[in-house]
Symmetry: C2
Subunit: 221 residues, 2 copies
DNA sequence: ACGGCACTCGACAGGGTGTTGACTGCTGTC
DNA sequence: GACAGCAGTCAACACCCTGTCGAGTGCCGT
């Protein structure tokens, strides 16, 4: 049910000492196989057997490392969100220097991170509908980002750069939601979508309009 | 593969004459069962057997009416999008009368239509990830709406009420995408979401900001 | 009275998941 | 240097769900 496992598969960032166990390689192989196969077909069309064979083990052995197919995705998702957090860095605290440039940087970096793992991101969006675990993790990640954006908007209002208006939290939720869905469509090439090379600028424009009612918000004096 | 069927299940809006066949009731019963069950559990947790038993028939008989579980959803989705189109009506052609009021009306009516079938809408969003048929239908519906919004934005620009800026199509895509994702979160109560009673106003505010850079766009003189 | 069609379902084949229980080989211990 | 113990492995099984096939049943027009 939860991701908790005997001790093999998950966890063990507590390096201990004997981290050189052969099982480590197998686990890595499963993860790598998953990311590779995801680039070829949809998550639902990948069976546990595919994952196991790809990693050179039998299906029952797969269960020694992960409790389910979804758990593999969860582990992969965890990595990507960490990567995105790292990429975002401290951009938000330096907002006042040059708001337009900083917001663009933020959106651009998320775009690059997700774009580099689009197959995985797409798979997560799909599975989120059917898997409570993935849904929970994604909700938690999103909540963190929403709070960061909310705080940034409030700071911009406090310094007089952004006008009052919607509750900052609602604004932050709507803007994040927009990004998520727009990126999804762009990466999936599915239905009406913004061209990949324009997407950052389109999103940026709407963020600035929503937050500042202006495409060239003032830097700090 | 496609929704084409022998002649029983689908189609037959060409009333013919003998539309009073017993099979009609069965088909309706399957559809009703699906919508009812969808309010209790996720689409993936409903088996064809559940649908069949709910309609008082056996599983093989189900296949006489629909080629798959997904086809049921597709039929239901078709209805809701028609309902939404009808609810939207001619609001967009009367935009210039009072832009803020008309845009609000548009968003409000979509909100009401989707809200009345939230379980179904949620299920479609989930299945869209795994089913090409649903994905295609949704993409087609979205494309229609995007084009309508795009045309409306261009009309507002032509009459000088809205400033130039992003390509109208990109703007329309982003705004529609935002609505879709924000509604999804609100209806699913999953992760950060805007409260249901605020959602129309939040979306409206961002639409006006994106299109007019202003919360009170001018009516026609 | 009879051919045909709408409609129905028992029974099967196939493919996926998750579990059990037995087996292998290394590693540390007395 | 025998041996307990555990990481790691898999054949075989039980189960559930899907989709199909073929053999019905009852009604309708002719």
């Amino acid at each position: 049910m939860t991701t908790a496992r005997t001790g093999a598969g998950r966890a063990s960032p507590r390096g201990r000492r004997a981290a050189r166990t052969a099982g480590d390689d197998r686990e890595t192989a499963i993860l790598a196989t998953a990311e590779r196969l995801l680039e070829q077909r949809a998550f639902g069309d990948i069976s546990i057997d595919d994952l196991a064979r790809g990693a050179g083990i039998s299906r029952p052995t797969f269960y020694f490392y992960f409790p389910s197919k979804d758990a593999v995705l969860l582990t992969l998702l965890d990595r990507v969100t960490e990567e995105a957090d790292a990429a975002a860095g401290d951009v938000l605290v330096r907002l006042a220097e040059d708001p337009r440039a900083r917001w663009r940087e933020l959106i651009q970096r998320f775009h690059e991170t997700f774009g580099a793992h689009r197959a995985l991101v797409l798979a997560c969006a799909q599975v989120r509908g059917t898997n409570a675990e993935v849904r929970r993790l994604w909700a938690a990640v999103l909540e963190r980002w929403v709070q960061a954006i909310e705080a940034a908007i409030e700071a911009e209002r406090r310094r007089g750069a952004a006008p009052d208006g919607l509750p900052a939290r609602d604004l932050a939720i709507a803007l994040n939601s927009m990004n998520e869905r727009v990126w999804y469509a762009t990466f999936a090439c599915d239905g009406p979508a913004v061209a990949e090379r324009d997407v950052v600028d389109v999103l940026l424009d709407l963020w600035l309009a929503g937050i500042y009612r202006d495409t060239t918000p003032p830097p700090s004096t």
